[in-house]
Point group: C2
């Protein structure tokens, strides 16, 4: 059994979201709490900028929940940088416990799965879950120096410069009913520019497991949002899950596909650990609070490579963790 | 409140440990399940070797628990490599759910904290928690190319080539009674060769919090084992906790201090995400099962730096997570 049920229905009592220039002028820009037209956010390096957007989202979510930092028992956070330094150095700013997590771009729903488990058991009262990514810090770590100005192939996605954080606890707000923990699935994709294809099989596996273990079907949800499969990866997910007997074409969307406008020409859309967290903590959270969406699945998706694993000839395994939310 | 109490007392029903040549001939060598006199473990790279020791420990622990992989609901694992690839690619070998965690060398007790929470709540039946490290993969990632043959200063530690994994569930075996989640504590240490000093303040904070929140004192435990403070860091911990009114000089030990013999001349001792897991899953687990140790605290300690955070002028924050075990 990979689905975890939360009888006590931990609530997402507040969120905060931060986006960079491209994200702020994109499709969900109007929903972001903090927008910036400067992708350095006033910092000297892109890595320090990423840290700043994450601790801003964490701090603001605590404020929005009308809590003090001393009431937050733990921060569960992660990001894409080596040794998840954005999360670590963000957590240093707060006096709460810290649990670092990493499942690439699936980290946000991993954090919520663990946070909701700690809240549901009555172990902790309030937990903040947050993730971030930054286009420029990710690009120069995983791919090429920015100064090279490399062109990208059409199957590529654009790492979101953004962060999202939410406060879990007992109280008002959309409830986390269950979570389905993903498996590492590897279909042998080796193209580091085609993350959507690498992650789609893991997404299909998690979604299928969720339907099977909860006895639900796509019709039971208003929205099924994957994390950052992008346009191409989304089509693969729809095909794979169709082969398993489920049609999600009516209510499926993808945070990566949503984030940029057509004019921004970001090929397959956004990606990054901050993609699903930023989109969920802004757009989806508002729609849930307004009851325009009543039941949704959020399934962040991660490509579990490193520069070194690719250099040593490894393929790119994927993973997806899913949370079931109801307003 | 940062201490999590497990009313249903999840059991550590089996463990497995793997060590490299230096570890196998060290103080706890005789307790290791798998010893090797080849630090490549028959693999082409040190990174692939690290992956192999971790999936060996995970697989063996499942066998030792007399379970099949299909009975394991989730693997919670982490390591020191960028994007925790040892854990990810190990998890790929198993059909279970996977939750990647990272708190540097404090990852093992972080994993057990989360695993025990999932078991305690009745969410999952069996969870494997495991971590690894490898001297050569860590050295060339964090410090210098091995070919340079750099000498190390006397305050340095030696990254353990080893892995440990344990199966949590309901059943026979030492019980996890509670866990205290650590905070990120930064005393401004910038010497990347002096991890013990960087981590000791976080260890003192977690230990003090544990005593305070559980109403216990050092006398209540047969052993208080820190993760990899080493000889120097251990002295700092004893001083800091003494200043808080607790004397742990009688029953404190440190996995890093234990692992190598005097002849091996590893300065302050061992370190690495595999240090506390390998020592716990071999020596301490055996002593607990034999009831030679009845009550112990295991507190893995982590230095949360990356090469890049140090290059950008950051100090080294530390963290420590503690688990309370009783046979």
């Amino acid at each position: 059994m990979r689905t975890v049920f939360f009888k006590n229905k931990p609530a997402i009592i507040a969120t905060s979201s931060v986006g960079g220039p491209k994200e702020s002028s994109g499709n969900i820009g109007e929903y972001l709490e903090v927008k910036s037209d400067d992708d350095t956010f006033g910092e000297k390096t892109f890595e320090k900028a990423e840290k700043k957007i994450l601790y801003t989202a964490i701090g603001n979510s605590i404020n929005n929940a009308k809590k003090s930092v001393s009431e937050i028992d733990a921060i569960i956070a992660g990001d894409l940088l080596d040794q998840i330094i954005s999360a670590t150095f963000s957590a240093r700013n707060f006096d709460s416990g810290y649990l670092g997590v990493y499942n690439a771009c699936a980290t946000f729903t991993e954090a919520i799965t663990l946070g909701a488990t700690l809240i549901n058991g009555g172990h902790l009262n309030y937990v903040v879950c947050g993730t971030s990514s930054h286009f420029s810090s990710a690009e120069r770590q995983y791919r090429y120096p920015l100064e090279l100005g490399c062109t990208r192939p059409p199957q590529a996605q654009w790492t979101v410069t953004g962060a999202g954080a939410c406060v879990l606890g007992s109280g008002k707000g959309p409830k986390v009913l269950s979570a389905t923990i993903g498996r590492v699935i590897d279909f042998g994709v080796v193209d580091v520019n085609n993350m959507g294809a690498a992650m789609a099989p893991a997404a299909a596996d998690t979604l299928y497991t969720h339907f099977k273990e909860t006895g639900t079907s796509p019709e039971d949800y208003d929205v099924i949002a994957s994390g950052d499969l992008g346009a191409l990866g989304s089509e693969i997910l729809k095909d794979l899950i169709w082969q398993k007997g489920y049609d999600i074409s009516r209510n499926h969307t993808d945070c990566g596909k949503m984030v940029y406008t057509m004019n921004e020409k970001e090929y397959q859309g956004g990606s990054g650990a901050g993609c699903s967290s930023m989109v969920f903590c802004s757009y989806f959270y508002k729609k849930l609070c307004e009851k325009k969406i009543k039941k949704m699945l959020l399934m962040s998706t991660g490509a579990l490579l490193s520069s070194l694993s690719s250099q040593q000839g490894e393929s790119i395994p994927g993973i997806a963790h899913l949370i079931n939310i109801e307003c």
